[in-house]
């Protein structure tokens, strides 16, 4: 279980989550957004850091441990595919497989002040979780921009969401290379504007 601690989304992204998910919103739960945001973020090459501006209060959106635990296998798979693809592009296949599959299992052994052995996530793995989270934030921003930003009411959001899904699906053909897809659904593509 990779996500064994409460996941929190801070700052600007928390506000974006709030406009996209929750009762009466387009997505029922925050976790629904958490499932798809890294996939979209990765596809578009959108990695974003936490943005906390002075104008934004310190809102944060959390995903409960209970929900994380119930969906641990799915979340592990999502983490694995993102990290696999990320490192394959950045480094090579061996590194990618190592970071996606082996690293989460490695444990650093340290001792606490009482001399008891403590196992903890490796530095590398924690770094990878942060990479994953940066894709999550990138995906949230993209969804926000595509669906919420150009609309003013639920009718608009529904229309924008449907268009986004349809556009996305149009490029889900097996014949397309990832880079083609990335180009096709990126904000630079005039077809999506």
């Amino acid at each position: 279980m990779i996500f064994d601690k409460l996941v929190r989304i801070h700052g600007e992204h928390a506000h974006r989550v709030e406009s996209l998910a929750g009762p009466g919103k387009l997505f029922n739960r925050n976790i629904d957004l958490f499932f798809i945001a890294p996939l979209i973020g990765y596809l578009l090459g959108k990695k974003e850091d936490v943005v906390i501006t002075e104008n934004v209060d310190r809102l944060n959106k959390a995903i409960s441990l209970e929900q994380l635990s119930a969906n641990s296998q799915l979340l592990d798979t999502l983490f694995q595919i993102i990290i696999l693809l990320h490192y394959e592009k950045q480094e090579n296949v061996d590194v990618a497989i190592d970071r996606a599959f082996r690293e989460p299992a490695r444990m650093d052994e340290t001792y606490d002040e009482n001399g008891l052995k403590v196992f903890s996530k490796t530095e590398e793995h924690l770094e990878d979780i942060e990479i994953f989270m940066s894709y999550v934030r990138g995906g949230i921003t993209h969804l926000y921009e595509e669906i919420i930003k150009n609309g003013s009411n639920m009718d608009d959001y529904i229309r924008n969401a449907a268009i986004f899904v349809e556009q996305y699906s149009a490029y889900c053909t097996e014949d397309m290379s990832l880079s083609q897809i990335q180009h096709a659904i990126s904000n630079d593509n005039p077809m999506i504007q």
Binding site: K25, N28, T77, Q80, A162, V165, Y168
Partner: protein, 668 residues
Amino acid sequence: MIINSIQLKNFRQFKDEQPAVEFSTSKNENVTVLLGDNTSGKTTFLQSFLWCLYGRANFKTARDLLNKEVELDLLQGKIKIADIKVKIELTHLDMKYTIERTQLYSKSGSSVQEVGTQKLIVTKKEEDGTTTHLIYPDDENMIKSIFPEELSTYFLYDTERFINITEDKDLASAVKGLLGLTLYEKAIEHIGKENSTNRKTALGILYHSLEHEDLENAQKHQMELAKIEEEIQEIVEEQVEVEKNIQHLHQQSQEMREKLQDYAEARGKENQRIREEQLVKGNRESLEQKKLEMPRKLSARPENFFIKPLVQKAFSILKSARVEDVGIKDMNANSINHIIERGHCVCGTPVEKESPEYHALIREREYLPPQSIGSMIQQFQERLESMSQNGNDYVDDVKGVHKDILKLNNEIEQSEERIKSLREDLKGIDSVAALENKVQELENKERQQRDKKIRNEERIKNLNSDKTAVLNKYQKSSANTEKNTMIQDKIMYLNAVSNWFGESYERQSGQLRQELEESVNNYFQEIYHGDRRVEIDDKYRVHLKVIDEVSQAQEIDGSQGLETVKNFAFLAGLADLAEKKKIKDQKNNELSAVESLPMILDAPFSNTDEKHVSNISRVLPNVSEQLILIVMQKDFTHAETVMKDRIGKKYMFKKQTETHTLIEEVDL
């Protein structure tokens, strides 16, 4: 009846005393033609008949009958008094009548006014021409009986001003009169209906002349009878009112029904509007449901869909990787952990921490379950495969809901457009419901009146049987004298005669309509070249009917030309029937009250085509004893070729000035 002549004096354009216009009275050459251009006084000439006979003329300025030049003379004081006079001489049932109507005028202030009322003199000359009787004002009904005003629209036919009176007026009494049934009515009126004790009837006089010994008892009976008679009379009078009310209410509700008919379209639109609004309501509810459905669809395992583009890439990466699963068969990570813990291998080699042996074991452990990299990747791929497949429906579901939303929005928008347009159309027609209520109200009242009529009939029936009982007692108690026996016989005889007249009247009036309809249709078929019939209703009004459905489309235009043909067919049919009845009566050596009427027609051909002109020209001189045509030369050219043998006299309106026309006879 034949009109011998008409003479006009100062009647509009016809200034001063004009020479009398003598009409052809020949049996064969029975047509008189008067030709004139527009505004030469053709219509005025026709109207002069109406004025003479009924004291009215259909001019916009009805009072403005006096010749304008004469009026000026009056205003300038050249003359003190002037008069309009129209004199008609006619022959009716072998008697010569003169009808003369006069109106005096003089200057009053700055205008010319009528002096006194119209003066009408009707005189009758015996056959030998020696004795003249003044019959008007003694017999006011004389003109009505020989020239019914209700039928004047037909016999004094003004095509250009024709309003479809054939479908308005109750012509029953006029037609019956013309066809001789009035004679029966008068006979019954004179004798009295069966058991009549009214002293104004022959029967009543006889009853009252019966002699009685017990005078007191007889008087008692007489009083009783008088009381019953009075009661019956009251009810009969009431029945007349009731009948009038029924007619009136019926007409009113019919008119409103017609209006409602006009509103039928509006009602349809109102219903459509209500339907559209219900549709909008339903669609709005569905739309709200669909909008709630969208988040459910979007949140239904979205990752399965969004992961799809990445799956193939992940698969191709893993395919290119060489992940050797080199672990020792059936050994697992726990076995390695145990070896490290106990400090020596199964072969006896010591295993110390950070020694090459230790690291070799740790590496080995990574290939063993549960940490086997091969099985992890295998499981990973299986999960991706499954997710990707499960994501296939996602896009269709989302698209489906969105499509439904768009469709509903579109339908709502279209309905709202239609509602807007219907509302626009319905503006000012809110009164449909009110009108409907009014019609209901009128129809209820009519029903009440009809019920009352039935109750009254019942009461009359009861009163009549009471009367018969009293009358029996009265007759039985009369003295057994010779005179009484004679009176009783006479009573019996007159009752039988009264019944006989009554039955004949009923029978004949029933037949009459049928015969007339047949006769009118014969002429209609002869004149009209098309598939139509006419029908005559119980008020003797004529209605056009199509014979087959194919002709229905042409029916709608109901042109004035067709109306003209219809009316001429009615005229011809009526005249023909009258003529036949007259001949039949004469043959049976019966007293005939039937007299055919002359026809005086103004511009009869102006709305009809050549074919109809020919037909009318051929038919009319045959059915009418006398035909007087007032036409424009150009309209008559075609008719003349058909009827030239029938023309007995020809006149020309010669216009001198706008206010003065002369009528001159011209050669045939």
